[in-house]
Subunit: 330 residues, 2 copies
Amino acid sequence: MSNPHAIGIDLGGTNVRCAVVDAKGQILHRVEQPTEADRGPNRVIAAIADQVAETIAAAGLNRTDVVGIGLGAPGPLSQRHGLIYNSVHLPGWNNVQIRAELARRTGLDTLLENDANAAAFGEYWAGAGAGGEGDLVMFTLGTGVGGGVIVAGRPLHGHYENAGELGHLVVEVNGHPCECGQRGCLEQYASATNLVRRAREAMQAGRESALKSTGSTLAELTCERIVEAVRDGDPLATEVWDEACRYLAVACVLIQHAFNPARVVFGGGMSQAGPLLIDRIVGHFNDMRWHLMDDFPRITLSALGTDAGVVGAAALVLRQAPGELAISNC
Amino acid sequence: MSNPHAIGIDLGGTNVRCAVVDAKGQILHRVEQPTEADRGPNRVIAAIADQVAETIAAAGLNRTDVVGIGLGAPGPLSQRHGLIYNSVHLPGWNNVQIRAELARRTGLDTLLENDANAAAFGEYWAGAGAGGEGDLVMFTLGTGVGGGVIVAGRPLHGHYENAGELGHLVVEVNGHPCECGQRGCLEQYASATNLVRRAREAMQAGRESALKSTGSTLAELTCERIVEAVRDGDPLATEVWDEACRYLAVACVLIQHAFNPARVVFGGGMSQAGPLLIDRIVGHFNDMRWHLMDDFPRITLSALGTDAGVVGAAALVLRQAPGELAISNC
């Protein structure tokens, strides 16, 4: 195949995004549909298989033009065994053999990868990583904080296949309790959810803020609204935002010394704040960094945005040499 | 060669240890001599070459029985370029092409590796890692805190070849200033040097302790003395020791979520405290760990002790297939 294509899928709790991607990382066609995870794995996987067929046809291709499927899904999962153990985003799914089932239904070789690793690989291969310039670590900032790590051109899995759980890096010993059982997790300071929580708590404790007078109740406060208020110079919003950026800078220092990557990339919903996010993270990072070596990662925004996951999942299939795609369609 | 051998060297600021190691990780013979780094790189490298010849002869072997030399050295260095940039442990050494120079003088293929990575590889291959059971991270606790990371059977270097600088993981935001320019580095809480500093500061501030009445002045206080006092139940010594163990447990949580290794190993001088160290680290780790998955590393003491470096350096040469040792003798 002179110009091979692969299917990239980003299976989320709300939507499934499916795209045909070529060897240059270009998306030929994409289709998005609601996940409706509560229908159960069988019906969802059947719907994804239909979506794959639809996407291939809409791109003007045949199934034989496609090398395989890369499927990014929320974990915990086993890349090795093609298995989703369970996920807060897919309620009721337990030990779902999604790789084998999707391969059976589509007749296409399928690879399963953690969604944050897939997005990180997308950025590494065709986004902020500028075509694989060096190791890359990605943070995805949304309702939670996810992480993906690319080392020596491959996603890092670790012994238990749970490497890069960067939302649960401890950034404050004895800090805020996290649902995970730890205290002081990065996610407690730098996710959209917790940004809103911290602003709301401050106002309930009597702090004044323009966030109160937006016509929306405190319960409806969103991260987007906080970002607006930061732009308008609201002190509370600025304080909460700046604290999140500071803890993200701490995380960048941890990543620097653990992985020593060429680049740290920030994606996910919160990254839509653009320079307001990245400039503050870089500012704090520069204030706290060491002076022993100039081994600093470049800290940048995601280049692919919401397409990082599908591009990366497809790229994981495309970067395999023919015959090297070790995942059979059963 | 049915039973290949390699030379492992551990170049430290005080001593150079050199050993002949076989394919099972057994040391046939070892020779240790003072480094005397202030003689300058040329004379030190010449002395190491003599030491290599002496060690081979003492083991009853010929140079042709040896596959090559693995050289562990303090960084920062470039494994790729065989170059020691500089090191606080080798004063006056700047951009020393040690790999090429040692290969030239010995006629043996030579590989350069960061000393902590070499020790970690030794533990991975022939020590606590039980023959390569899975990814392994090692902390070396001495005057500083070093780190080595083995991922997918190889030392992790990272883009700038400075991965695994675990002594500079930030464990306390806005914590104690570190010589490196950061604040709150692990090394500031968990190295032998800083353990002594913290005990001394507490006593100078008026705290009572049996550490005062040992016949030695405060300036002569050692980590070994603190360990003795912990065993004797001295409250201050216990407090300082426990704090160090707690921060090392925080570091284990960071390592769990970053690398998700099978094992975390503690070596270096402080690890001679044995269960007093490891049981407290494990205790604190169990108190602070998450409950989302049972993906916990086994936390253990080094099995090879002061031989980890030479065994690991030799093993890095031995694990290369013949012809794969990409490091020529110039």
